[in-house]
Symmetry: C2
Subunit: 317 residues, 2 copies
């Protein structure tokens, strides 16, 4: 008899559910809805349970896997909070889902789940240790060590974004200075470019044209496009990001000596020069005898949903 796996991805701005046969590589069905302004934890849960019921159409899943966009206590399956959506504090998400669908459920935060997804189904296949790094509005990360997720003492491991790479760097939202995220995220690539455009009126012509001189419209994508068209101001802001990522990766290579670094997230689509700078900086920072690969993620935005399938499988065993 076919066993069904139900996978949920609670994102900050949209929710996705997917149904797949155990061992399958193609989705039987998938549904995604955007969160309206004002959505809270209650709304999110109600919406996702509804998507699950629609997909199952009365069938019972063998197991459920859940990716949540925020810190989770993996052992209990309880959400600690969401940094984006109110009303998620201490929600026993595993219990709620097990009660609804009558199937064993595993819940973990999106970076860990995406790491599992890339390891099982994406760019991490065939290697036993990797750090998955996602670079978009923030910088997150998840570990696979010895073919298993490494979560750490408080389920907080993988915070590559809060590796300090410059003690004199700008203050980060975490309270420290010069964190990878503060230098490398798409948000800060754009913020830096806006500051420089305001302060250096003679530079950045391409980027200015792309946003019709509306500095508030500068985002990471516009900076990447301007850099690709030869805008040096735009490239310099990207280069700060690439160097911070490379310095962090080189240090982590020395510290943990993983086989592979898998980089995903919108900001990593910033072109060949961006990738070359990450790789060259990482190579220069790591000790010469330490080997590693830096590769693009294979599953794109669907890494958490695929990872949810993988952790669901673990729940059922």
């Amino acid at each position: 008899m076919t066993e069904l796996i139900l996978a949920f991805d609670f994102g900050g701005t949209k929710h996705t559910a997917g149904l797949i046969e155990r061992g399958g590589r193609e989705w039987l069905a998938q549904k995604q809805v955007a969160s309206p302004p004002g959505a809270d934890g209650d709304y999110d849960i109600r919406t996702m349970l509804g998507l699950g019921r629609e997909l199952l159409a009365g069938a019972r899943p063998a197991a459920v896997g859940v990716s949540f966009g925020g810190p989770v206590n993996y052992a209990t399956g309880t959400v600690i909070l969401s940094h984006h959506v109110p009303g998620w504090e201490n929600r026993p998400l595993r219990q709620i889902i097990e009660a609804e669908f009558g199937a064993p459920t595993n819940v973990d935060n999106d970076a860990n789940v995406a790491a599992v997804g890339e390891h099982r189904f994406g760019a991490g296949q065939g290697c036993s240790s990797l750090l998955y790094i996602t670079v978009s509005t923030g910088v997150g990360g998840g570990w696979i060590l010895d073919n298993k997720p490494w979560r750490g003492r408080d389920s907080l491991a993988g915070e590559f974004g809060h590796l300090m790479v410059d003690p004199l760097g700008p203050v980060c939202v975490c309270g420290s200075r010069g964190c990878v995220e503060r230098l490398a995220s798409g948000t800060h690539i754009a913020g830096r470019a806006r500051e420089w455009l305001a302060a250096q009126p003679e530079r950045g012509a391409v980027l200015r044209r792309l946003v019709n001189d509306d500095l508030a419209a500068v985002d990471g994508k516009a900076v990447a496009q301007a850099a690709a068209e030869g805008d040096e101001l735009a490239w310099e802001s990207l280069a700060v990001s690439a160097r911070a990522l490379g310095q962090g990766i080189g240090s982590v290579a020395n510290l943990i000596n993983p086989e592979r670094f898998v980089l995903g997230g919108g900001t990593t689509k910033s072109g060949a020069r961006y990738w070359e700078t990450i790789r060259a900086t990482a190579r220069a920072t790591a000790m010469p005898e330490v080997n590693f690969e830096i590769v693009p993620a294979g599953l794109g935005d669907f890494a958490p949903l695929w990872g949810a399938v993988a952790i669901a499988d673990q729940a059922a065993q």
Copy 2:
């Protein structure tokens, strides 16, 4: 019948062998010899095998564990090289010892072995994840994750000394800049103090007196003693070390979220203010929600020998 475990610690300047009953907590016998100038790999091996034969007095060990002061391929038990002693390149140390004593043998580098020793017998008891950090002439480290050593892809994990904490810092022997070791080791504490004494003739009166104005005699111990007696130049050099260690520890806490950091090595005996600075800097660098302890090592110079007992046990199982 009592089973005997033979433990070897190949250091850069001295070799130690110990004999203990399996499961025991007291040495039956121990022997240590200093390496004469000009010693090479052949000499070291001959000497250590001799110590082992003396301790065993004709008995046969159940297992042998070996700590080696340099990189080792753990899987094969082959020494890659020694950074201090010539003639160690690609020595099949495990095979040599197994042939001599007819007992299963495990060989690993001293930082990994010391981490295992502290975990099993010292300041890491009762916790499942830790980074052992040794600060003396260099800065080394070894991981315990999920109660086991974590060695990484090339057996090179644990190089906390080559975590970059300052991209504009001084060039390190590894080729990168601003590594923890380049800022924090006893060698560099002394080197910095010597430079400052030479450049600032009006400062460092206590430290100058301690070395009878012979700047070449300034070492890490003298700097620590001068700082304890109120010498601010000496303290400033120690503080650079403490801050680099704290920044590294805080970043590693975010990245791996281990339960504990265990700090050993001569330089960590630099007084309460040194430890307070390490702890305060680590706390300020780590994210507020990440918890960890920083504790002094419990086994001193004998961590590798105790760790050798622990890895020998694994060899016999």
